[in-house]
């Protein structure tokens, strides 16, 4: 599809973008429209695709000096365009949902575990420990971030709701996971087994 990419080198793209060469910018915008049409596969109309491509073009202009040349320029620009487009679509999809309401939402505990016996008991013990860890180890903000992410709220939306950067949200989520891992390890649960435990059976060290 994107024959444009085959006819320009990275150096030509970078030089053209830096110089704000009209023909180069038009080619890039056109390329980004085609990329986004594939990337979004029907999730947005043509008008939105063109808007996202324009926003991406502006971002590429701002960031062109950070392009390291370790990929094709068009792949790098497409990644930026996709980040913008998905971010906008997620914000639109979650536009009427507030973090406060999401956190307050009660969800009835369902009976996922059907098995009985030693395995079920071990898993029950682990989940009880995890609940206790959530209650005692996490700050209010960490709890909010962990819960919102578990319930599918995109990081960009959480970031906007909490007035923090996406990097800060990720850091707090990471710190929360580390705290909970340490809490479980201190109670004798082997982290190596947690992955297996999360889909099946629990064992203590």
């Amino acid at each position: 599809m994107n024959q444009v990419t085959e006819t320009r080198t990275n150096e030509a793209w970078v030089a053209g973008v830096r110089a704000q060469d009209g023909a180069v910018l038009m080619s890039l915008r056109s390329y980004l429209c085609r990329s986004l049409t594939v990337a979004l596969s029907g999730r947005a109309g043509q008008g939105d695709v063109e808007d996202f491509a324009q926003l991406a073009l502006e971002r590429v202009l701002e960031r062109v000096d950070s392009f390291r040349g370790d990929s094709r320029f068009t792949t790098w620009a497409s990644a930026i365009a996709i980040r913008i487009a998905f971010g906008e679509l997620r914000r639109k999809a979650w536009g009427n949902e507030s973090l406060e309401v999401l956190l307050a939402e009660r969800r009835a505990p369902e009976a996922v575990t059907k098995e009985t016996g030693r395995d079920a008991a071990a898993r029950g013990e682990l989940l009880t420990a995890l609940k206790a860890g959530i209650a005692t180890e996490l700050s209010e903000r960490q709890f909010a971030i962990v819960t919102a992410e578990l319930r599918g709220m995109p990081t960009a939306v959480i970031s906007k709701e909490m007035g923090m950067s996406t990097g800060a949200i990720y850091k707090m989520h990471h710190d929360a996971r580390k705290k909970l891992r340490r809490y479980l390890e201190q109670r004798g649960f082997s982290v190596a087994d947690l992955g297996a435990l999360s889909v099946g059976v629990g064992e203590r060290r």
Partner: protein, 76 residues
Amino acid sequence: MIETEQELLDLLAAIADTRDVEIDCDAFLDRVAPLAEQLRQEVALSDAFYAEAHHLRICSGCREEFDALLAVLRGE
């Protein structure tokens, strides 16, 4: 409240895959283009992308965007 067993199991899976040092979504974006080009060629991922591969497992948003980028590359 985190009340359902499924939510707890999902959190447990994320805890199990937690590393002491991780990259965030912005750092991932900086490296996603060469990663996607390498995967598009269906060659084994080099160790240089260890942190990015881990981020893909942890972050559903970046995974969704990465899949979209791969679709673009594969459509060329």
